[in-house]
């Protein structure tokens, strides 16, 4: 994990530089507290590096227990990482507090799977959207009301929705309100954690279209956390695949989906239930289940389920290897194959 920044000095923003950079990020949770505490920890996120550029959609995919949501919550500064750095727009935000943190939060907004987690169910929609503006003291009261109407319009809702309460809305409409609230302070990065996974297919398509339009029109960067690979392939520019707290592969989405190098990425892609009866999966792709993050396997964390694991995988953690422009994977076997083919 030696790539990217070697100096602690914070570089000024270069055009084309990342809007968000995550550096050797670690988040461990204690498994128990109090007198009987064993000192055991859950290795939720372990030494993760990633970056997102302005206007880019980076998808983070993985199954339950992969650490993808913990990563999102660290980036949002909802929880403090155990170690590592989060650099936003050239500034280290890892330890930010108070007014500075508020400034960061204005620029990095969340969209959650359940919009109710960010909307007060008792408030009218207009108030929920205005709340974000109030929180950051943006504009006068009249300006805020006008802005609420603009924002509702931006997410495809009639101004009359401002008077409604969340329970009167469908799931798709609620998610639009959640997105309007997130857009209110004009953020530069949206962290979307499973934003469409609770929605029906036809509604999901509406929300995906909305996110894609916003991203393009406003030049937003999006960290898109999801488990649905078809959604990820459709909407993201780059994809990072997580397994048991580690990124095992990352690259341009098309490369990762067309030419996956990590055996876990391969298995994950093979397990997609394609809506095409002629592409049926015969037999299961991957045996067993994800091991406990309390005691992750030594070496490569995927080795206990890996169909091609070798002895080395148990003793040495594989390093990220470059397989093409911006395409990296951490696998001893894939690396050996690459070296063999290079002669």
């Amino acid at each position: 994990m030696s790539q990217i920044l070697s100096s602690n000095e914070v570089a000024p923003v270069r055009p084309g530089g990342p809007i968000l950079q995550v550096d050797a990020l670690v988040k461990h949770f204690p498994t128990d507290r109090g007198l009987m505490a064993s000192g055991a920890v859950v290795h939720a996120v372990d030494s993760i590096d990633l970056e997102i550029h302005p206007g880019e959609v980076l998808a983070v995919v993985g199954e339950s227990g992969s650490g993808k949501s913990t990563l999102a919550r660290c980036v949002l500064r909802l929880i403090d990482p155990t170690s590592g750095r989060i650099v936003f727009d050239g500034r280290d935000v890892t330890g930010m507090k108070g007014r500075q943190l508020a400034g960061f939060r204005q620029q990095v907004q969340p969209v959650f799977q359940d919009p109710f987690s960010s909307i007060d169910p008792r408030w009218r929609v207009g108030r929920s959207v205005a709340e974000t503006l109030d929180a950051f003291s943006i504009g006068t009261k009249a300006e805020r009301q006008e802005r609420v109407v603009d924002l509702l319009d931006r997410v495809g809702l009639d101004p009359s929705f401002a008077r409604r309460r969340p329970h009167e809305l469908s799931g798709g409409q609620r998610q639009r309100v959640g997105i309007a609230a997130a857009l209110a302070p004009e953020p530069r990065l949206i962290v979307a954690d499973e934003p469409v996974s609770a929605l029906d297919v036809s509604v999901q398509a509406q929300v995906l279209n909305l996110l894609a339009d916003l991203q393009r029109d406003l030049g937003l960067a999006i960290l898109f956390v999801a488990h649905d690979l078809a959604v990820v392939e459709h909407i993201s520019h780059r994809t990072a695949v997580m397994y048991l707290g580690k990124i095992v592969e990352t690259g341009p989405t098309e490369r990762v989906f067309r030419d996956p190098r990590h055996p876990y990425t391969k298995a994950l892609l093979e397990a997609i239930p394609h809506p095409d009866p002629e592409r049926r999966l015969v037999g299961s792709v991957l045996e067993g289940e994800i091991p406990s993050p309390i005691a992750p396997p030594s070496g490569c964390r995927f080795r206990t389920r890996c169909p091609v694991a070798i002895d080395r995988c148990a003793v040495e953690e594989p390093e990220m290897t470059l397989f093409g422009t911006g395409h990296t994977a951490a696998c001893h076997v894939a690396r050996a194959e690459l070296e063999a083919s290079a002669g």
Binding site: V201, I235, A271, P277, E278, R280, V285, G288
Partner: protein
């Protein structure tokens, strides 16, 4: 193959504060022995209500009409104790959340064994032996050791395997599986789908799979019924549904699936929203959102055979027109 299950003109209504909600409207379909039949649709389409109606599991506010015959036996109106005898024996159910079916305090193996002793005249030792076999059959690793574990000690995927073992305990003729893999991760889902497929091959179990996931349907089903707002709009072999969907709703649903080929922002959407089922539109309930809507759509289109195996309920279809053009209709046409 003969019909194991035959539904005729099934209606399910609920009395609510807003009036009578028509959750399932005039559904007729049949499922053959040994087939995997998918019932697919979005939230509120009535697919789960229909399954609960078959099992006699709806609350007393529900009003169920029509006919449901299982192996020739009429299930609607069957006394509750007779239905209870069928459930877990000749018909069993698998739900999305395994904890709906499992008792959180009892060892999983005991729960499987109990399902056997509840319906079969066998001693406890024999039931335990059989339960152990079943846990092995559904692919629970170290199943001897797992037998005594409470459900919370197992992962979600393992719990669902226990539920499947329970569902199979008495070798039912029919398994109703309602979103059985929806709560599972994709690699675990692949394992469970493989298990269901294997069961059908080994035991000839008939499976009715209720799901919103068209991917799951494509992977495992032989035939599919598509529901929208309580109406069954299309029934066809799985390959035909995906290759040449005929109903405008089925077409729209398939077009809304995200793919890599589509430019982000250009997914096809279905305008409008699902109608309020306390006051559904007359006729075809998709008519309020259908791009091809015509005057005739205010009359309910009958589900009719376009070919032997492909049925559709849409006035655009010649078959539907022949089956019940409203100006020719004698009974039940214009209402």
């Amino acid at each position: 193959m003969s019909d194991l299950l035959a539904l005729e003109h099934v209606d399910v209504g609920f009395a609510t504060e807003d009036g009578r909600v028509s959750a399932v409207s005039d559904v007729s379909l049949s499922v053959s022995e040994g087939e995997i039949f998918g019932l697919v649709g979005e939230s509120g389409c009535g697919k789960t209500t229909l399954a609960m109606a078959l099992m006699g599991l709806l609350p007393t506010t529900a009003h169920v009409a029509g006919s449901v015959r299982f192996q020739g036996l009429e299930l609607l109106g069957l006394p509750p104790d007779e239905l209870r005898k069928l459930r877990g024996d000749r018909i069993s159910m698998i739900f999305q959340d395994p904890m709906t079916s499992l008792d959180p305090t009892f060892p999983v193996g005991e729960q499987v064994a109990e399902t056997i002793t509840a319906h079969r005249d066998v001693n406890d030792a024999r039931a335990k032996e059989r339960a152990l076999e079943l846990l092995g059959d559904v692919g629970i690793p170290e199943h001897e050791r797992r037998f005594g574990d409470a459900p919370h000690r197992l992962s979600g995927g393992m719990r669902q395997r226990v539920v499947i073992a329970t569902a199979l305990a008495n070798e039912p003729a029919l398994v109703l599986a309602d979103e059985p893999t929806t709560a599972l991760d994709v690699t675990i889902q692949a394992q469970v789908l493989d298990l269901l497929r294997d069961l059908r091959t080994r035991l000839q179990t008939t499976i009715v799979l209720i799901t919103h996931d068209l991917g799951v349907v494509a992977q495992i089903c032989d035939r599919v019924g598509v529901m929208y707002a309580g109406q069954l709009v299309e029934v066809a072999p799985v390959s035909e549904i995906f290759r040449s969907p005929r109903h405008p709703y089925t077409q729209a649903l398939l077009a809304a699936l995200p793919t890599q080929q589509q430019v982000p922002g250009s997914l096809r959407v279905i305008p409008g929203r699902v109608p309020n089922l306390a006051d559904p539109p007359p006729g075809c309930r998709f008519s309020t959102r259908c791009p091809y809507v015509m005057d005739v759509c205010a009359t309910v289109p009958p589900l009719a055979h376009e070919t032997d195996e492909h049925l559709i309920a849409c006035w655009l279809s010649e078959a539907t027109n022949q089956a019940g053009r409203p100006d020719h209709a004698t009974a039940g046409g214009a209402a």
